[in-house]
Symmetry: C2
Subunit: 190 residues, 2 copies
């Protein structure tokens, strides 16, 4: 498995970790290297099954086996565990997991990547109207159709994106993404 984890590599890694006996194998190998039969008897399962598990773990880069006399001795490789762990810690990178699904188009994604922090706040508003609109729609997603929000609620929900909540609220209305009731100040998506 390469150092840079693609989505499918992450998937094979999690799949490799998603089995009781494979976790036990990892635990045993974390103590000491073992050959196939030792693992089989420790887990009370067949040697061919252990061999299968080791192959799965090996494809995920989690173990490495080397022939030593009659036996092939397997040892734990901790690097993939470490890189995965760091990856999970910077969970903002998890956004990439959705990449191959048809959510945003390429242009929009680029704008968002440029003008939105990993935490989801607007760094600054672009000058070009077209780009501003991408961000407006980005924040609009927070509001579900069919629900009425008070002006206070709207401001509250926008606060996590930017300090200039009024500007965004006005943009929602100006660009006809939201309607507002004249008096009471209720907003809803169109």
């Amino acid at each position: 498995m390469a150092e840079l984890e693609s989505n499918s590599e992450l998937l094979t890694l999690f799949k490799a970790l998603a089995d009781k006996n494979r976790l036990k194998i990892i635990g045993l190998l974390a103590q000491q290297s073992h050959n196939v039969e030792e693992l089989a008897s420790a887990l009370s399962i067949g040697a061919s099954t252990v061999s299968h598990h080791l192959s799965v773990l090996s494809k995920a880069g989690l173990v490495e086996g080397k022939v030593q006399g009659y036996y092939s001795v397997y040892s734990l490789q901790t690097r993939p565990l470490e890189t995965t762990a760091k990856y999970l810690l910077h969970w903002d990178e998890l956004k990439g997991l959705a990449s191959d699904s048809a959510g945003e188009d390429v242009f929009e994604r680029k704008i968002i990547a440029t003008f939105v922090t990993p935490e989801g706040r607007i760094k600054a508003f672009p000058v070009q109207e077209k780009k501003v609109l991408v961000l407006i729609r980005y924040m609009l997603r927070e509001f579900k159709p069919g629900i009425e929000y008070t002006e206070k609620q709207v401001n509250q929900m926008l606060a996590k994106f930017t300090k200039d909540t009024a500007r965004v609220r006005r943009a929602f209305v100006d660009y006809k993404y939201m309607a507002r009731e004249g008096g009471g100040g209720k907003y809803w998506r169109i």
Copy 2:
């Protein structure tokens, strides 16, 4: 899921992460909260299937849903990801994964826990012979039956456990765990 991860909690977490569509859901929720239908259309799968996936993720503590008008809006919970990541980084704790398998008995495990560092080195040799023997057998596991090792190899393999390799090598022979050929200095397990 509790803060302290038991083995089975780790397993449910990895199982939850071991599916393509669930990873995509996590990716989408890392960007923004979503309701079930939004996720279903983004992934091109049925709403009931998404509901099932969200239930799996929820049992693992990875998402949380709250009712909001017509919709129930799901958001990503990053804490379990963080604790899991830290757990993987301190991979010496992975040894616990093998705990419920019938490898060592309780006494031996306790001795090893006391006198062996997380990295696998001998901190110090106990005074009681019975306890020393546990450590001797612990190191003996590194050597596979049927294979001959030169004295140099034996020392080399023991070096990762202790500086006093000669003591251990002698103990192997004294306690009849290993035999040695008189002249050439070849060792093998009995």
